[in-house]
Symmetry: C2
Subunit: 197 residues, 2 copies
DNA sequence: CGGATAACAGATTTCAATATCTGTCATCCG
DNA sequence: CGGATGACAGATATTGAAATCTGTTATCCG
């Protein structure tokens, strides 16, 4: 049989499988190697450490969101609608991930907790997308920002909406009033940015 | 010697001590009884279970805040100033608790995680205080709320400010930009409530 | 008789021996 | 030689027996 060459991509795939099956506490590099039919030494040829391997998987998972959200941030059209859609989409994404397979979500929650730097980069990406929408809106007269730097307002918006994207709150996302709470918060944010008298 | 009678108050005091010394994982009812010079059976005469004992301690700890905050919510003066002060005070309280004795804070964080009902009651109290300030402000023309029910807006404000009172974010409170982030978020909230054109 | 106790069963935790894992490296193979 | 291997040391995790804890109750004491 023509053996597939061992590549980082294949290793990542196998790592995801192993994590899904065994969970973050029991998934080992030896398991990953076993799933690939090689010894764990071979895995270490492509990833310098178990930590690096897990970080790569985490990054991949986080990057699922950024593409769609970046597209929304870059669309033409009124900035307030874009912001609204962006917030809704982020919430929908997270809620779907958490609801579909809670165990896998919990697994990635643990991974994210271990990879603070990766998470920080991801957050910086999202804040940059927000800042872009806010700056667009300001330039078009749709928003009035209290600060010169749109990143300051973007951070405030990101923090204000944390309850509906931070995985720490995942348990609340399926509660009865969650949609109403989200709508109220989105209204609060959008209302804040609307230009005053 | 005139032995003090065994009261719930004395037991709570001893429980706090034991929790402070041993942490949430190792503090036992037997330890509490030992600290009081009685057997653990006597403790069970005043509290039906270890869980109930811990909940009582948790409630006590959470109630430290509510008094001061309720006073601020009830003060005379402009509602926007009251809201601003309320948010600042809540943040200051939490940050102080977390900064002074991180280990004890971590202990109470675990306790709070175990006592979801107690925490929900506490949150309901805080939201009610917020709703009061918001309703006052609306009646005085200082705020315009998007919803008839001030509790809806109060929840939104509470959720928006979660980053600066939810213990899950305690690690961020001592970071360099924390004060600036708080100021931006407070501005976002207050700006949102200001009546429009 | 109200309140504390000591003894107890079942659940939970501790601890130390044992096994597994991580990361490295000298060696082997095509 | 580039890439996989198996053996290895030190770190981490598992396991099961022993100890401790939780919650109950029959008994004791003032």
């Amino acid at each position: 049989m023509p053996e597939e060459p061992l590549t980082p991509a294949r290793i990542l795939e196998a790592t995801e499988d192993v994590l899904r099956r065994f969970g973050p506490a029991k998934a080992t590099v030896v398991d990953v190697a076993r799933a690939l039919g090689v010894t764990h030494g071979s895995v270490y040829r492509h990833f310098p450490s178990k930590t690096a391997l897990r970080e790569a998987v985490t990054e991949r998972w986080l990057d699922q969101e950024t593409g769609t959200l970046d597209a929304i941030a870059g669309e033409p059209g009124p900035a307030d609608e874009r912001l609204s859609r962006w917030l809704e989409t982020l919430f929908a994404f997270k809620r779907r991930k958490a609801g579909r397979d809670p165990e896998l979500f919990a697994t990635y929650l643990v991974l994210a907790g271990e990879a603070s730097e990766t998470v920080e980069r991801h957050i910086a990406t999202l804040v940059a997308q927000l800042a872009r929408v806010l700056a667009d809106g300001r330039d078009a007269g749709a928003f009035s920002l209290p600060d010169e730097d749109p990143v300051v307002s973007a951070r405030a918006v990101f923090h204000a909406s944390a309850r509906f994207h931070d995985p720490a709150y995942a348990a609340h996302w399926s509660a009865p009033g969650a949609d109403a709470d989200f709508a109220a918060l989105r209204a609060l944010i959008l209302n804040s940015l609307r230009p005053g008298p």
